[in-house]
Symmetry: C2
Subunit: 345 residues, 2 copies
């Protein structure tokens, strides 16, 4: 039986210093890659650290210095494939920069978000990447006293760094495609939680309809989840007028809506066009394959981290809004022109 958690005292700077025949301060400088130490000394210290099996204690460093080399990733839900990809991209980018990520989910609940934020501050993270929960107020974020980059959604009245897709323009193009395909009576599903991202998407849709002289969309106030998608089939049946296009606030909602609608007798791509937003992997395998707006979550995560790292380097820099272009991916679920093809927007 191997020893489990041996209470061996780990060696400290002092031991390394003794081994190398220098002071603690010098060892500290070497470990932090300071240009102040001579090459020979540096080599000697590194050898000594290796020899005694030294392990850096970031906790002790944190106490004295202001940096922890950690960042918080606070997203809505981890097991939504969209956010999973966003988190994967953010984690990889942080890792590459020598940071390590704390992960927490808000479930779009302000209380949970508040708890998580408190823990992250207790841990003295250097910065936070946040998909703010519905109802988050600007003071909550500004009051953190921490660099915070928002992703996907913005807290109203908070003019900080932000990374997200060009929702309005993208959805406008998506709706334009549907209209060109002959669709006229639009429903927008997922208006249950009107955060800034949803509002932009809805705005894009409204603008396209207005431009073509069509009536505004019917709103289904369901959450943007699989559960929300399942509710859609029932709600659609109850509408006074039969719609011919269902624009879903995100892919996941569409994934659940499509089978439910099929069971209810709708012919997806035929009498009803269905679209998503995101273009996660499942969009290509569901049948009919989903017409959607590609927003590249992985890249959004990477971009948000880039903004965060920049902000850490230069706290006084002007706030940056990284609005990433989207791309319309036309598949079968919208029927009409361009079936199975992809086209830029």
């Amino acid at each position: 039986m191997a020893p489990r958690h041996p209470e061996t005292r780990r060696p400290t700077l002092t031991e390394v210093a003794a081994e190398a025949g220098v002071s603690r301060a010098t060892v500290s400088l070497v470990l932090r890659d300071s240009p102040l130490v001579a090459a020979a000394t540096r080599a000697r210290v590194q050898a000594a650290a290796e020899a005694v099996g030294y392990l850096y204690n970031r906790g002790a460093a944190t106490l004295r210095a202001a940096r922890t080399k950690t960042a918080g990733l606070l997203v809505t839900e981890i097991d939504n494939p969209f956010f999973a990809e966003l988190v994967a991209g953010a984690e990889a980018a942080l890792d590459a920069a020598g940071y390590i990520a704390f992960l927490a989910a808000t479930g779009d609940c302000r209380d949970r978000q508040g708890r998580a934020l408190r823990r992250l501050r207790e841990q003295r993270v250097d910065g936070i990447l946040l998909c703010p929960a519905i109802g988050t107020r600007a003071e909550e974020i500004a009051g953190l006293g921490l660099p915070c980059v928002q992703a996907m959604r913005r807290t109203p009245g908070l003019a900080g760094d932000f990374a997200g897709p060009a929702n309005r323009e993208g959805v406008e193009a998506l709706a334009g495609h549907l209209i060109a395909g002959g669709r006229r009576r639009f429903v927008f599903a997922g208006a249950g939680m009107l955060h800034s991202g949803v509002r932009e998407r809805l705005d894009g849709l409204r603008r396209a309809l207005r431009r073509h002289g069509l009536p505004p969309p019917v709103l289904l106030r369901v959450p943007g989840t699989r559960a929300g998608g399942e509710a859609v089939a029932r709600l659609l049946a109850d509408l006074p007028e039969r719609p011919d296009a269902l624009v879903c606030v995100n892919d996941v909602l569409a994934f659940a809506a499509i089978p439910a609608l099929q069971r209810a007798g709708w012919e997806i791509g035929g009498d009803l066009a269905v679209t998503g937003i995101g273009d996660v992997a499942e969009a290509a395998t569901i049948r009919p394959a989903l017409t959607t707006l590609r927003t590249e979550p992985r890249r959004i995560g990477e971009t948000a981290v880039r903004l965060l790292l920049r902000r850490l380097q230069d706290p006084a820099a002007a706030a940056e809004q990284a609005i990433l272009p989207t791309r319309l991916v036309v598949r079968e679920s919208c029927g009409g022109a361009g079936n199975l093809a992809m086209s830029d927007c």
Copy 2:
């Protein structure tokens, strides 16, 4: 323009102590919910902490005490929906216990895993939940000197805590179902990386075939990813004998294999049965819907955390192996009996 990161010195125990008219030690006891302090004193201290806007500094506490209230989550890939669910379950369970999770991905690469483990140790995490990368050696884990619960896979020769599905029994039942449906010539896809989990699945399949006097499966040595799934179509066409059943090592591989096979002219569920393992949400929406073995990743994550918390409480406890039961979910992709139904195994 709101102040960005005001260099306000955060109040410390000393300030709270002064405000409450007690010593630092007493404040510390209150903050840690010690039963030693009198109720009146406790209330006074809590009010004082609130009044001065005190924020606990876990870094300082860590330096003195041995606990950080953090744990590491080290998984293969975050954007595989299976692991995303596992991580979501683990994060929720850790959160409920007052812990916060570091997240990192190994990409099944020992070097990356090693780097992540080093960072986690530098941060002095209390414990680690690990899906060990291929080729991980027992000493690497035992040498951490840290509580470590393995999930999904085991490092050979390491007898520690473990949480994972009953792969062998599950796949045996799955294969039994296919055989009962008339399938005879089996291919196993995803044998590119033979970790313990894959080996168990393969064992289960082999056992079922042997029991029914059928020849062993053909192995396709592709990775268990979407890319691996796409390679499958080409490889199947090249086989000397046409198979009638494709057992995929996981759902994600099957999701990519099915459309690729369809394009190559195979009739899924008809001339070729295809199955996955996991039963993530996409399994129900792909067409034909995927027959798979439900392994409940979320519950595996929760269970692994339960084991980890137990180990933290009692480092000397006997190692526990939590082997969670699986459930056969029969859908269309395997054709034959039980179409669209679900059945226990």
